[in-house]
Structures are given as structure tokens and as C-alpha cells.
């Protein structure tokens, strides 16, 4: 008898699967499937991507959508695990029939999903992973990178740092792909632009290392002129806190990509160290243009907080999806991709385009230094210097030579 019960349980489970699978959507929408890490330390960035994206498509849908269709989205939390992320992307495409994939902050997942997108010919917008492999070595027709990658960030920083008088450099960072990639990109380009610089040492700590003081005292003992700090996520803050506590920030200047960004500075309040060099691709207070202001106001109204750099990535992705379909004139993935190549839109940070050759978004970088500001309960980036895409983006040839034939 119990066997029957057992069988019934299974039958119900499978029936459940079927019912769920056949509730697939009505055809009158454009469906976007978002796979991203919505938990753990990364979610502080990814939730802004999501909210930025929501803001953009709500605006579009309020005006009647694109080509008479509304844009819909559905999210999956991959918990920073590529195998789960890949399975979820498959589920979104094969079961939910999404037209477009979007995500993720995890490079491993982004690359896995990108591979799947290539096979399935589904456009995939990479929203906060910074691996240069996405459009480089592993690039293909269906993948688009919507934010800066490590090579771009490194070049932008190198452009600004090459003009500084520092000679003896120390390199430190999180010991994972992103850390090394950022550090290498900054250092190689800096060396190219300013052959006088020399490296006096390196230190790497494991991702999630809570207390960075031992590394900092070791660096201070070596007395370099400048430190390139290649950290990501929570260790951005950990490093700044340790730098403040040890007085490093007053003695030796250092650079962190996104070090001047709200995501890093917000939680520290007024306690963040001043004088940190950093690059960022979006600052809600700079440049002080009407477009930027309008976006920030909308975002603040909707979510009661200031947008971080990741918010703009989500927002622009929404804009590009809408504009792409508008230009294509029909809901056809190939036409959509053709339309996106070279497409220019007016974004909060000015006019932006997706480069046709490698599907990389061309966006400006702001180089600045942290400082207290009476207007805000946290530090802001000052002495901002705009580094335009043409000054720092790797050329098409440089990117495409990585791709396998």
C-alpha cells in the first residue's frame, strides 16, 4: 500500500512540474530573465542593478512598452554559484521562454550563461561581472557587456596615474581572478604609459579575509610611494577601514577601482578614509547634468536611497533593450542584435553607444579622490576627472585578437 503512496508522491511532483512548465507566458510581452546573486555580500550591488532596471522598464511600459509589447522580467537568485546559475539560465530560457537573459555579478556564472546563450542564440546582457573574457576571449554575437571590465578599469586608472609623480608601487588585493585582473590591467598599462614606475612588492589575501591590518603594516614597512589595491565587494570596505585604523591613508596614497563609489563609501559614513584615489563609472552627484539629476531624483523617489554605480548599469540595460527593439522594428533576436550594434542612446551619464565589433558598452570613467562633504552623511569623490571612452578603451583589434578562431 505504501508503495502506492510513494508512487503518488512522485506522480504529484511530476504533475506539478508539468503544470508549472505549461503556465508559460502569453506572447504579448518581451520577457527578460535575470539570473544574479541576490544574497550574500554581492547583493548590495545586484539589488541596485535590479532596481535600476525596474525603473527603466517601468518608464517604458508606462509609455505603452515597445512595439506595443510590455517588457516583463523574472529573477532567479543563483547564490554566487555558477552551476546553479547556469541551471537557472537554462530554466529561464527553456521553461519560462524568456527572450533575453541578463545578469550577473559572478564572472563564472556570466561565462557559463554566455556559453549557453551562444548555443541557444539568446541575447545576454552582462550587468555587473567585470571579467574581460566576456567580450574578449569568450566573446560572441549574443553577449553584451553593459559595464566596464577589468581591462577598461585598469586602463582608465593608468591614464590618470601615469600623470602622477609616484615611482615605487606596491600591488595588493583579493586573491581571485578579479583582483589579479584589475591589478595586472592597472600595472601593465601604467608601465606602458610611464616606463619610470617600478614595483616594490605584492601582497594578496584570500577573498573574505576580515582583518587586513597585518597586510597593511607589512606594506607600510616597505614604504612604497603608492599602492594599487585590487579589491572587490566587501573587502573594498575592509581595506579602507584598516587603512584608516592604521593611518595608512594619511601616509601612503592608494588606488582602488570603485573606491570612490557610493557602494564602498555609503556604509562607512563619515568614518571612511579621505584621500583615496578611485575610479567609478557613475557618481550620482557628478557630472551635475540635468539628465543625471533627473535619473537620481527618479531613483530616490522610487526606492528612497541614492543610486550606486550598479543602478545605472541596470537602468541603461533597460534603455538599450527598449531602444534596440524599437530600432529593429520587430521582436526578432537577430534583428535586435543587429540593431544594438553601434546603437546610441541618451543615458543619465550622457550619450552612450554599444561598440559593434565586440559588444562592449562605451562609457566614461570618473577618476577622483575621496573627501568629506557637508551635504551628505558619507564621503564623496572630488577633483573628478572624466576619462572619455576614446582615451582608454582597448581597440577592437586588441579585444578581438583574444577570441579564438
Amino acid at each position: 500500500m505504501k508503495k502506492t503512496t510513494f508512487f503518488l508522491v512522485f506522480a504529484v511532483l511530476f504533475a506539478g512540474c508539468f503544470i508549472l512548465s505549461h503556465t508559460a507566458s502569453a506572447a504579448n510581452t518581451i520577457k527578460v530573465g535575470i539570473v544574479d546573486t541576490f544574497s550574500g555580500p554581492a547583493s548590495t550591488y545586484t539589488l541596485d542593478v535590479l532596481d535600476g532596471f525596474k525603473l527603466a522598464i517601468e518608464k517604458i511600459n508606462a509609455k505603452g512598452g515597445v512595439l506595443g509589447k510590455k517588457i516583463e522580467y523574472t529573477t532567479r537568485d543563483e547564490k554566487f554559484k555558477p552551476d546553479i546559475g547556469a541551471a537557472m539560465a537554462k530554466e529561464l530560457v527553456l521553461k519560462e521562454n524568456v527572450d533575453i537573459l541578463m545578469g550577473t555579478i559572478n564572472s563564472g556564472t556570466a561565462l557559463a550563461v554566455s556559453e549557453f546563450a551562444r548555443k541557444e542564440k539568446i541575447p545576454f546582457f552582462v550587468t555587473y561581472s567585470k571579467s574581460e573574457k566576456i567580450i574578449g576571449e569568450k566573446g560572441h554575437r549574443y553577449v553584451f557587456n553593459m559595464n566596464e571590465n577589468t581591462e577598461m578599469a585598469g586602463r582608465a586608472a593608468a591614464v590618470a596615474l601615469a600623470k602622477k609623480p609616484f615611482v615605487k608601487y606596491w600591488i595588493a588585493g583579493d586573491d581571485y581572478e578579479y583582483g589579479h585582473a584589475i591589478a595586472d590591467a592597472v600595472w601593465n598599462n601604467l608601465k606602458r604609459l610611464n616606463p619610470k614606475v617600478q614595483q616594490v612588492g605584492q601582497s594578496w589575501w584570500k577573498v573574505g579575509e576580515p582583518d587586513l591590518t597585518p597586510y597593511i603594516t607589512q606594506i607600510m614597512a616597505a614604504k612604497p610611494d603608492f599602492i594599487i589595491v585590487a579589491t572587490g565587494g566587501a573587502s573594498m570596505v575592509n581595506f579602507q577601514k584598516a587603512a584608516k585604523a592604521t593611518g595608512l591613508s594619511q601616509k601612503i596614497p592608494f588606488y582602488q577601482h570603485t573606491g570612490t563609489e557610493l557602494g564602498t563609501l555609503l556604509s562607512q559614513g563619515k568614518d571612511a578614509p579621505e584621500g583615496v584615489y578611485g575610479t567609478s563609472n557613475f557618481l550620482f552627484y557628478f557630472p551635475d547634468t540635468p539628465a543625471n539629476k533627473a535619473f537620481v531624483d527618479e531613483f530616490q523617489k522610487a526606492y528612497k536611497r541614492y543610486p550606486k554605480a550598479s543602478a545605472i548599469v541596470g537602468y541603461m540595460t533597460g534603455q538599450f533593450i527598449a531602444e534596440g527593439f524599437k530600432k529593429a522594428g520587430k521582436v526578432d533576436k537577430e534583428a535586435f542584435i543587429n540593431a544594438l550594434e553601434g546603437l546610441k542612446i541618451d543615458s543619465p551619464v550622457g550619450p552612450l553607444a554599444i561598440r559593434a565589433c565586440d559588444h562592449q558598452l562605451e562609457l566614461p570613467t570618473y577618476f577622483g579622490i575621496t573627501k568629506k562633504d557637508t551635504k551628505y552623511p558619507f564621503l564623496v569623490s572630488t577633483e573628478n576627472q572624466i576619462i572619455a571612452p576614446k582615451d582608454y578603451m582597448p581597440t577592437c583589434e586588441e579585444v578581438l585578437k583574444h577570441r579564438k578562431k
Binding site: K3, S21, S39, D77, K81, P82, A87
Partner: protein, 311 residues
Amino acid sequence: MVQSILGGKGRVWGYGGIIVLILLPLFLPRFYIYLTSLILLYGLFATSLNFALGYGGIYQFHHAVFYGVGAYGAALVITKTGLSPWLGFIVGPLASALLSFVMGLICIRLSKLYFGMLQISLGSLVWAVIYRWYGLTGGDDGIHGIPMPDIIATPNSAYYFTLIVTAASLFVIHRMIKSPFGSALQGVRDNAVRSEMIGVNVKRHQLAALVIAGFFAGVSGALFVVVDTTVFPDMLFWTFSMEVMIMCLLGGWFTFMGPMLGAALIVLLRTFISTFTVYWALFLGLILMFVIFFLPDGVLGFFQKKMKQKN
């Protein structure tokens, strides 16, 4: 005796199940074929763990290492050498078995929790090597788009390949459990001192069990490469080992098909809970707590017990 496959009519159920699985691609949409492939290979992975854990009583805490090494072994042979991918599917599991042997040699003299902990630290070192050996393993990004031989490149053929390999592996594992070696191993699990006293070399049997478990974990890792064409260092992270233990526990770790059932439950739960909430880990945790509390023998173990009481 631990009942083999669902009690006395096990064989009928087994054949029935295999026929259903063979026919599945005829009526299931592609996504479910993919999902079933995943369930099969996770199930094989969990069964291999259960061979050491449920039948051998060895606290194999970091089994994912062997799964990952099998996958990386296959992936590296395919991408870095010009050799046949089929060779990769053999090299991967063999590499796992070898690693399992070496780690087993080091750990085997410790018992229970100490064994598990030393294994976790050694496994973490293997993980660290794969995680940071960028040149070879691609670091934390992993290796993607591993080319497969044409014959197993489509979802359906990958599914059939997984099905055949899984079924064959399960058959072999089942055979081993029912063999004198399997009996002796279960004796060791229930009482190591007693086993020694009737002339069984406990450590050597445990070591052999570890190597076998490692080998089949490697097989399932290689299958993952077939199904997903990617590998990541996360496959070797300790939390994944925990998840696999959960599969064994959920299904019933003193039953043969329990781990497979557990794998199916976990994969299905994860897939369908995550479609309506991002808090799927929360639900998974709650379900797990429930199972440990009320069904300590797992779902299958529970039903088997009920069945036995009926008879």
C-alpha cells in the same frame, strides 16, 4: 539487511523506472530532460558518497573534491590536450580515484570527526590549488564551452549518455554493496572493533571503499561536463559537499536508491522554489530541518520502514 531497491519487487520497479527514463525525451520538454540529466548525475554522485558514508560509515565530509577533480580532469584533457574527449572521461574518474587513495592514506588513521575534518582541510587545499592556478584551471571563472564529441553534443544524446553511465555505475555499486566486500564494509560501519576481531583489516577495507567512492564521484563529475560543458572551482567547495550529504540524508542514507531520490528532491525543490522566491535556501533549510527531525532515516528509509511494518 538493508533492502536493495524498494523492497522485494525491486527488480520490477527498477526495470519500470529505466523504461520510463528511456522514453522520457519523447514527451518531456527539453528543460526537464536537462533537469533529469542533472538529477541522474547528482544522484550518482550522492550514491557514491553514500557508499562510503552510509555503507562504510566513513565520515567523508568533503566528497565534492573528487567530483570536482573528475570534472576538471575530463575538462582539462579535452581543452588542454589534443586527445580524444573519451579519454578525458576515463582520466577524470581515475584522477579522482588516485586522489582519493592519497587523501585516504593520510586521513584513514583518524576516526570519525577527525577524519572528516582532516579531509576538509586537505580538500580545501585541493580547492585552493584549482582556484588559484589560473594558467591551468582558469581560476575562479572556470572553464567554459568545453567541446563535446558530436555523438553526445545534443541535450538528448547527453541525457542518454548520462542515463547509460549512471545506470551502469549504479549497477556496479549495487553489485559491490551486495558482494562480500560490501558485507564486510557494512560490518565495519556497524562495529569496527568487532570487524577487526573477526579478521577484517578495517583500514584497508575503508581505504578501498574511499577509492571506489572517489572513482564514482569522478564519473559523476565527468558527466556534469557532458551535460553542462563547464567546470568551476565551486564544484569543489565544502558547502557543496554538505549539499550532497543532505541529498543522502534526505533520501535515506541506509537505502540504496535514497541518495538518488534525495538528489531528485533537492534539484526539483531548488528549481521550483526559486521560481517564486529568492529565499529558496531558507525553505530548503526548513525542509531539511523537518526531515532530520521527523524522518531521520530519510524519505525512502521512512517508507521502507512503514512497508516492513505492514508486512
